[in-house]
């Protein structure tokens, strides 16, 4: 039983670390501001939550050994899950805020990402629209 918890917690944390490596690689290697933020926002949220879930599994191990005396660790687990829920809410929001600030500040997209020749509104046209028109 103990081995099961160890493996589960360890693999969750390892998965989180793998996603972190992906995040860092993306933030360093992607060509423009928007793609870099995309890597940062998505990867960072998921990897942090995975690591927190791993920690939650790790602390809840004691409870399953001895539910009567060790129920207090459930409180710790709930707190960790609370942090995970908080991150799930705030981290994408902050990425969105940064992204929108960059958009309004007219950060250029890279030509390898966005085909400038294709039909459709340009960045300047998009910025001149109101928020309702954009969506």
């Amino acid at each position: 039983m103990s081995l099961f918890f160890d493996i589960l917690a360890g693999s969750l944390m390892a998965a989180g670390l793998i996603f972190f490596v992906g995040t860092v690689t993306g933030m360093l290697r992607f060509p423009d501001f928007y793609t870099r933020m995309h890597a940062g926002g998505k990867g960072d949220t998921l990897s942090t939550i995975l690591i927190l879930l791993g920690a939650a599994v790790h602390v809840s191990e004691d409870f399953f050994h001895d539910p009567i005396h060790q129920w207090g660790v459930l409180l710790v687990m709930v707190k960790i899950l609370g942090i995970a829920a908080f991150l799930m809410l705030t981290s994408p929001t902050s990425t969105h805020a940064l992204m929108r600030a960059g958009f309004e500040d007219a950060h250029e997209t890279d030509e390898t990402v966005v085909d400038k020749d294709q039909d459709g509104p340009s960045l300047e046209e998009l910025q001149s629209r109101t928020w309702e028109e954009r969506s």
Partner: protein, 340 residues
């Protein structure tokens, strides 16, 4: 304390300090300062000084970064690029080298961390706090009982310093005529965050109540866990700053106007000092809560515990409102209109 972790954190600390000197963009430098505060917070948490780490995370990394950004927004964003070192800089470099050398030399004489025979731990006063605090006050968190009871004078005047800081900001950049107009504008009820982004607005609507509830918990639970008036007050103030950032300063000011802020801030100090005076009126010395067991329930020790709670609430009032006033004035150059 894991020395490998501490070593990594300290190396990063030096790196961030060097980066903040190198970066010409002041906005970037403020961000680096935020990282620096977080690293220090981790170091303190590692040493077991969780109360201090809490304050550092809330003030150093959170609110002061916002305040720095607000200041940079209204001043020049880039520092002047003087290539040639002036005489003053050379002089200060020499001075810093000498001072740093002396400090490095002196650090060799420090007692080891947690050394039980070091003067700070060996002194009878420290012994008394550690052994007698729980019997005296029934407060398990030693930091709170020292801060709000044994050393109540310190904390009272720290709160006054916070209040004076708010008045100082107002005196330096406050604009009196715009302020009067402001009061009129506050009367009409502007729609909450009408020109804000939907996603940010809704997230903040979810987060702000939770943050305020948590701030109250931190103030009230400071006896049993890390926290207290300063930490809770900073969190509560931060929730208003978040409201101002997401839904506009006008909306935040409608909920907590500036004049109301100053009234509440003064109220906090009056609560604290008034409690001290109440002790005097009952025939004991200033801030000696033990005498209050005649009006508070639960015996002498519990009277001291309850008094600490009330005093911490007073601190919370002052810190909350003054933080918000500082932000509101810095973000608008004292006009209290527009904002970031």
């Amino acid at each position: 304390m894991i020395w490998q972790l501490d070593l990594i954190l300290l190396i990063f600390l030096v790196i961030t300090a060097l980066i903040s000197l190198r970066v010409r963009d002041l906005l970037g430098a403020s961000m680096v300062f935020g990282i620096y505060s977080f690293l220090i917070c981790l170091l303190w948490a590692g040493m077991g000084a969780v109360d201090v780490a809490f304050t550092e995370a809330a003030v150093g990394a959170g609110v002061s970064t916002v305040i720095l950004v607000a200041t940079v927004y209204h001043t020049r964003r880039v520092t002047g690029g003087h290539k040639r070192a002036s005489g003053m800089k050379v002089l200060s470099l020499l001075l810093m080298l000498v001072l740093g050398g002396v400090l490095l030399h002196a650090s060799g004489d420090f007692p080891a961390l947690g050394d039980p025979t070091s003067p700070a731990n060996d002194h009878p006063v420290a012994q008394y706090y550690i052994e007698g605090s729980y019997q005296d006050t029934k407060v398990p968190n030693l930091v709170t009982s020292v801060l709000a009871d044994y050393r109540g004078y310190d904390t009272l005047f720290e709160t006054v310093v916070v209040f004076v800081a708010g008045i100082g900001i107002l005196a330096v950049i406050g604009v009196p005529t715009a302020r009067m107009r402001r009061e009129e504008v506050c009367g009409d009820t502007a729609q909450f965050g009408e020109d804000s982004d939907l996603i940010i607005l809704q997230t903040c609507r979810l987060v702000v109540p939770v943050l305020q509830l948590f701030a109250l918990y931190v103030i009230a639970h400071g006896h049993h866990s890390p926290g207290g008036g300063f930490q809770g007050g900073v969190l509560f103030g931060a929730s208003y700053i978040l409201l101002a950032l997401s839904g506009g300063l006008r909306e935040a000011l409608r909920r907590l106007s500036e004049s109301m802020s100053f009234r509440l801030a003064a109220c906090g100090i009056v609560i604290y000092a008034g409690f001290g005076l109440l002790c005097m009126a009952l025939g004991s010395s200033f801030l000696d809560y033990a005498i209050l067991d005649s009006i508070l329930p639960g015996g002498v020790a519990m009277a001291r515990s309850h008094s600490m709670l009330i005093v911490e609430a007073g601190v919370g009032f002052t810190v909350t409102t003054i933080l918000f006033v500082i932000y509101a004035n810095l973000a608008t150059r004292g006009k209290l209109e527009g904002g970031l």
